[in-house]
Every structure is written in structure tokens, then in C-alpha cells.
């Protein structure tokens, strides 16, 4: 029994915006890895878009409580995911899209997060298609995920490297959440 169409929950962001800093990494894949490490240790961090003065293109940063800087940097060093820079937040950060849409095709279910869509066969929970996106890891991710069951497919966040890969991770988590056992 699967509870498809669970009520959508907006992901929470850190409650306090003052006294916060950002961790800047070389690749989006490093951001995703660092986010995973920090969240596993219980830190309240959020993946955001960088402020204009340090934006280089399609990048992500991790927003964190500045007062925890030393401990967070130590945690990241221990996991070989040290940031390139640590910068206090002085201007507005871009919020990633956090609105999901779901489309029910009868035998199939599609979830979109930002510009990425994942579709599964509802009976077998097999990923049947990945669509959307424009970064070069999208065809790679599709090749790795399509044809596999949700439970055995690699996490897009683990093997993706771009914002499109990160968006696919969000869609993947959402479709897993909607299909999780009651």
C-alpha cells in the first residue's frame, strides 16, 4: 500500500537569517556532498543561490549559522569536503525553487521539481523516464536511473554535478516520499 499524493510539505529553511554565512565550493557536486555531511551531523544548513557579488554561473552555496563556523569547517575537513571560501552573508540569497508539481497518468506518476521531472510506473516503482533540464549531467543521470526501481536507483544527488542534478534529487526525494509505505 502506497500513499500517493501525500500533502506537499514545503522544506524548512534556517529560522534565523542574521549571523549567517555561506560556504562556497568549486562544484555543485561538492555542495551536495557537504550538505549531506552537515545534515547527517544535525547542522541546520540550507542550500541556496549565491549573492550576486560571488555568483559565477549556475552555482549553489550552503548557508549556515556563522557562530558554528569552526565546528562546521572541522566537520567538512574530516570528510574531505572543505569549502573554497567562507563568507558572511551581507546580501540576499536566491531561494531554490521548492514547489513540486505532480501529474497522475493513471499507471504512471510524474513529479517535477524546478525544471526536472521524474516518472515512475506506479505498480513496479520503476523509473521509466527523466525529462527536463539542460545541464550535461541530465542525459547521464537519465541513463543511470531509467529502468531501475526507486529503491535500487542511485541518488541523483550522489552522482549529479549541476543544479539540474540537484533539482532531480529533489524530485526523486519527493516521488519517494509520495510512494513511501504508510
Amino acid at each position: 500500500m502506497f500513499r500517493l499524493f501525500k500533502k506537499l510539505v514545503t522544506p524548512s529553511s534556517p529560522s534565523k537569517k542574521i549571523g549567517r554565512g555561506i560556504l562556497v565550493f568549486e562544484h555543485t557536486s561538492d555542495v551536495i556532498r557537504a550538505e549531506k555531511v552537515l545534515k547527517a551531523k544535525g547542522w541546520k544548513v540550507a542550500v541556496m543561490g549565491p549573492p550576486p557579488e560571488i555568483r559565477t554561473g549556475c552555482d549553489l552555496v550552503i548557508e549556515f549559522p556563522l557562530i558554528e563556523e569552526l565546528a562546521i569547517i572541522k566537520t567538512l575537513q574530516e570528510s574531505n569536503t572543505s569549502p573554497l571560501q567562507v563568507v558572511p552573508v551581507t546580501s540576499a540569497l536566491l531561494n531554490p525553487v521548492n514547489i513540486y508539481t505532480t501529474r497522475d497518468y493513471g499507471d504512471y506518476l510524474m513529479v517535477r521539481a524546478a525544471n526536472m521531472k521524474i516518472t515512475i510506473d506506479k505498480k513496479t516503482l520503476t523509473i521509466v523516464n527523466i525529462s527536463g533540464g539542460g545541464c550535461p549531467d541530465v542525459p547521464y543521470l537519465a541513463g543511470e536511473l531509467v529502468g531501475k526501481q526507486l529503491s535500487e536507483a542511485p541518488h541523483p544527488g550522489d552522482i549529479g554535478h549541476t543544479l539540474c542534478g540537484y533539482a532531480l534529487q529533489l524530485a526523486y526525494e519527493e516521488i519517494k516520499r509520495q510512494c513511501s509505505p504508510l
Binding site: 543561490g49 554561473g57 549556475c58 525544471n115 521509466v128 523516464n129 539542460g134 545541464c135 550535461p136 541530465v138
Partner: protein, 296 residues
Amino acid sequence: MLAVIGTVPDPSFPLVAGQVALHGEEIVIQGLRVRINRGTPALLASAAKICEALNLPAPFAYLAGDKGMGDGSKALYAHLEKDLKDRAFKSLVFHYLQPDVDWHDRVLFAIDEMSPRPLLIADAGFMYAAKMSGQALQYDLFTPDVGELAFLADELAPHPFYTRGFILHDDRRVPDLIQRAYVHDNAAKHLLVKGAEDYIVKMGETIKTVAAPSSPAMEAIGGTGDMVTGIVSALAASGMDLTDACVAAAKISRGAGQRANPSPATQALDIIEHITEALGETFSQKQSKKSISSAI
């Protein structure tokens, strides 16, 4: 001749440039075989189908392996900066490349040295960079889906991932999004907006919409947008008026989709296989296929 620039999701794939041939479920370039599933190979396969049917030269491609780290894309950008100025292409199509504004600008400078200047078409990652660079109007055609149109309409978003909530895509708001994209000069001269209803736009004015035949499952199928871009690129390279090419591409892709009778589990290749029949059907409504070739 049509030239397509993009990536294949294999980091060991070398940078290659040459004409592309279709062999079954693969494209072949410089003796290297790439499966047609989605992304730039799907675009190339679709363009090759049109070129073959209309007796046009096979598409030329610049390809490099890149699975998202950006290394293959950077190598391609560097190669194009040196190579393009000595080439003569009817049209250039930029596709799955790691968005990088600095490299985008360097490639655009190289294009400025080409004579005659080719028709410029952008989709996917390179379209993101073109918009971010503030030089979208240098392009003749962008082929966004509705989500990417919302990104073009958001003057602050550097990537579709950051499109602000109040602009988020909604099929019913496409005309508003088109207007907003042009207000901030973030659209190309023409747009082919791919969605439940396709919009063909010239400098902010919607010239035509195409909504039939409709196969709702196509939204879920990866590579169908690449197919549309490949079809319109080949038609445009044939000399067809760009607006007419957009309308024809929308109809041909929908016709191919209908013939495949797709479910959300259908793969793009199963639809691409029907392009030639759909092309004939689209044009036979007005004239014979033979006269199309001579007309263009």
C-alpha cells in the same frame, strides 16, 4: 550546412568534429558510435532524419564527453573559440553545454568573425548562459519548454532552478511569460515554446500556436524537446523561413508522437523513428514531398 554543438554523457568520449550519420539506434561521428536516447544525440538524430528526407547534407557536429563536471564543455568552448571563425555554416545550434557566461561570450565573439554570420539557435544549458549573458537578442531562436520560458521571464534568475515563485511556470500564463521575457531582453528574436500548446513567437508577438495532435504523455518523455529543436534546426538550415520552420517542427513532432502512441514509459527513440512519416504527412497537406525539397 547545419552544425550542432553539444555533449554526450561519457567522460571518456573525446572532442570530435565531423558529419553525423544515422545507423539504427546510434549516431556515428568520426567512427565513434553514440546511442540515441536523449540530449544532443537525440537532437542530432532528429535533425539527420529531416536532412535525409529533404536531401540536405547530413548535420555537422562538435561533440565532447561531459557528465556534468564541465570539463568536456570547457574543451568544446575553447575549440570553438579558435575553430568557428574559419567555418561557414548556415546555422549553429548550441545545446547541452555546461552554462558558463565567460565562455559563452568568448564563443559569441568568435561567431562575430564568421562571414556570413550563421543563424544562431540555442536550447538547454547554452540557452541558460545566453540569457545570463544579457545577449539573448543576438540569437535567432530559443526553444524553451514552459519552465525554461519562466526562467527567461525572470530577469534575476541565473538558472531555471532559481525561477522565483511568482513567475513559476503555468501553461495558462505563457503569453504573459513571453511578454515579460521580451521586456527584459531575455528572449531570442524568435521563440518556439514547447508545451501542451506550442507557441511560435517573433519579437514578442505570437505568430501561431499549435496544439494538435496532442499526446499528453510526451511531457514525461526525456528527449522529446531535443527532438523538436533538432527538427526546427534542420528545417531552418534548409533555408525555410524561421517562423514557418517553427510551425512545421511543432506539427512534425506532434505527428511523430501521435504515430508512436506513447505512454509515459515510451523512450524518445521510439518517437524519433516516426519523424520521416510525420514530415511527409505535415507537408502533404499542402504539397508533395518532392516539391517541398525544391521549394526550399
